[in-house]
């Protein structure tokens, strides 16, 4: 009996947490379909007007294109770096391994704004700021640790003899990497690619500092909000949320579920 009350209380708490996290997002989605200019209750009528205007806006379109290019490229670079680091950590022991790992794992421990300033200073010093690929470079550094962590976790689960078994059956080290390690890590790799893309797609601070004239979606959102209250922001926000949550859910499906199984 008391156990049942406990369970009910816990479920209630869980519900509250979800309400707390998701109600602003739900509000944003609701107001994005609201005909009134100001976010007030009672609501006006249903409209897709704000979506029509953002799709018609060339600047927003350009920002979306930039964001997609940046997040996809970042995802590929960061996942590759992450895999390479995770594998070398799994496979080899060498002097200076500590500093080697710190090199890739440190970025998330640095406050974003410091990171952004440093990136700007460095990139403009070498004359590389204000380019689309400046954002890609910065985002790859920023997201590679996540990819590394996810793939390393997967490698923890491998039977240490699996790779040796492949050599034993006649595959060279490269062949074994391709035919055993990569397939084994596939769920983690897909998952890492989704997560790094999502992080890059949403990232504002670094993008704002180093983007110059190549604005990404979060940067353009700030510009719109700075000007006035505009329900277009709700429409953009809803789409961004949809993109990110899709990527995160995909990451979960590919990875977390596999971890549970093995």
């Amino acid at each position: 009996m008391s156990a049942r009350i406990g369970t009910a209380l816990l479920l209630g708490w869980l519900l509250l947490v979800f309400v707390f996290i998701f109600s602003p997002i739900v509000a944003s989605v609701v107001f994005s379909f609201n005909s009134d200019r100001f976010p007030t209750i009672p609501l006006g009528s249903f409209t897709t007007h704000w979506y029509d205007t953002i799709f018609a806006d060339a600047e927003i379109g350009e920002a979306a294109r930039n964001s997609i290019i940046v997040s996809l490229t970042t995802s590929v670079i960061a996942t590759t770096l992450g895999f390479a680091t995770a594998y070398t950590d799994y496979r080899y022991n060498f002097r200076l391994k500590g500093p080697y790992l710190a090199l890739i794992l440190l970025p998330p421990t640095i406050p974003l704004i410091i990171m952004a300033l440093a990136m700007l200073a460095w990139l403009s010093w070498i004359g590389a700021s204000g380019q689309l690929w400046s954002i890609i470079v910065a985002h790859s550094v920023l997201t590679a640790p996540f990819a590394m962590a996810i793939i390393r976790l997967r490698l923890n689960q491998i039977d240490p003899n699996l790779e040796a078994a492949a050599w034993n059956l006649g595959s060279s080290e490269w062949k074994a990497l391709r035919s055993v390690i990569l397939p084994f890590c596939r769920p983690a790799i897909v998952s890492a690619a989704c997560l790094t893309a999502a992080v890059s797609f949403d990232e504002f601070a670094v993008a704002w500092f180093v983007s110059g004239l190549n604005k990404t979606v979060p940067v353009i959102v700030l510009e719109i909000v700075q000007g006035n209250i505009d329900p277009q922001v709700n429409a953009i926000g809803s789409l961004v949320f949809l993109t990110s949550i899709t990527l995160v859910v995909l990451a979960q499906l590919f990875f977390i579920s596999r971890i549970g199984r093995s």
Binding site: D159, N161, L162, A164, A165, A166, W167, N168, L169, G170, S171, S172, K175, A176, S179, V180, P183, F184, R186, R261, S262
Partner: protein, 351 residues
């Protein structure tokens, strides 16, 4: 032994300061079923891994078919191994696992499939060819692992404690499968185990290892009845080991003097080994019998091992058929008399 297929000469393997294998010499014949047996950490798995090329000897030579293998990389050796953990590829189904070695050798898809299915059927798991590894039972996985190693038709198969994860009744069945396969294929099996029953049931010859050294190599019966060292006598079977001094045709020990053949010269130290199944136990004293107190018993189906203690604290063991236990009226604390015929004793060569 026929022509040796594998020769290890003066092989040493060190990991940092730790020496896993000391100056090992071993010849394994073509078509021989060789077991390497010893407690964990004795260097038996390292020895196997050096044959496979997974570990490189620090000193000495490993030859297979006469060819010096020290510098030959793992994937060029054709020394497939059945791993203790099986190490099946979890992202491939049973058939694809078996095909792996053929795929690495560039065999075409059609041919690969045909040979893989043939091996799965030979090992009576043809019905599970398309099943995922994690839906197979322990015994079925074992067979997939065997098929995967044998599909490339190697001259030698290495097995690293392959049955240790199986239930007892499956172990017996797989022993049958392994010995049958080895005889049919006529190839060399090198089988590493810590299990006496596995090694004795299957092997043509057994090498007993301890602390990186081979203590004895011989046929199972030879090792069982005439252990070469104290270690082997303790590790194999159930032996009573008594230290004493030679009196020419008898050995003088703390428990009495026992007539025995094969002793060193009078006055030299000697060790007598008497297998527990050759010891007689009775309730009444007789000439030369050792008085003991029963401490405990170990029941293994048809035979029972009784553990007894002599007056000076020496532990002695007796193996008797279970059905004779009743008439003996054995219970802990009871007094008994142990004796053995003079030809039951075996004298260790070492001092």
């Amino acid at each position: 032994m026929t022509e040796p297929l594998v020769t290890l000469s003066g092989v040493v393997k060190r990991f940092g300061d730790f020496t896993a294998v000391h100056r090992l010499d071993l010849e394994i014949g073509a078509g021989e079923f060789m077991a390497i047996m010893g407690p964990s950490g004795c260097g038996k798995t390292t020895t196997l891994r050096m044959i496979a090329g997974l570990d490189v000897p620090t000193e000495g030579e490993v030859r297979i078919g006469g060819r010096l293998m020290n510098e030959v990389p793992v994937h060029e050796r054709d020394t497939p191994m059945v791993w203790q953990s099986l190490a099946l590829f979890p992202f491939l189904n049973a058939r694809e696992n078996v095909e792996f070695g053929l795929r690495m050798r560039g065999v075409g898809a059609h041919e690969r499939r045909r040979r893989a299915v043939e091996w799965l059927e030979r090992l009576e798991i043809g019905a599970f060819a398309e099943r995922n590894i994690d839906t197979l039972s322990g015994g079925q996985r074992q067979r997939v692992a065997l098929a995967r190693s044998l599909v490339t038709e190697p001259q030698i198969l290495l097995l690293d404690e392959p049955l240790s994860a199986l239930d007892a009744h499956l172990v017996i069945r797989m022993q049958g499968v392994l010995t049958r396969l080895q005889r049919e294929l006529g190839i060399t099996f090198v089988y590493v185990t810590h299990s006496q029953s596995e090694a004795f049931a299957m092997a043509d010859r057994i090498a007993i290892m301890s602390e990186g050294r081979i203590e004895q190599i011989g046929q199972p019966r030879e090792i069982y009845r005439t252990p070469a060292s104290r270690f082997v006598a303790e590790f194999v079977g159930r032996n009573n080991i008594l230290s004493g001094t030679s009196r020419g045709d008898a050995i003088e020990t703390a428990l009495g003097t026992f007539p025995t053949a094969g002793l060193p010269a009078t006055g030299a130290p000697a060790t007598l080994v008497v297998a527990a199944d050759l010891v007689r136990i009775g309730r009444t004293p007789s000439d030369g019998a050792v008085p003991c107190t029963l401490i405990s018993e170990e029941f293994v189906g048809a035979t029972v091992t009784l553990f007894l203690e002599a007056v000076d604290g020496t532990e002695l063991k007796v193996q008797i058929p279970e059905r004779t236990l009743g008439e003996l009226n054995a219970h802990a604390g009871g007094s008994f008399y142990l004796s053995w015929p003079a030809d039951a004793g075996h004298v260790l060569a070492e001092s």
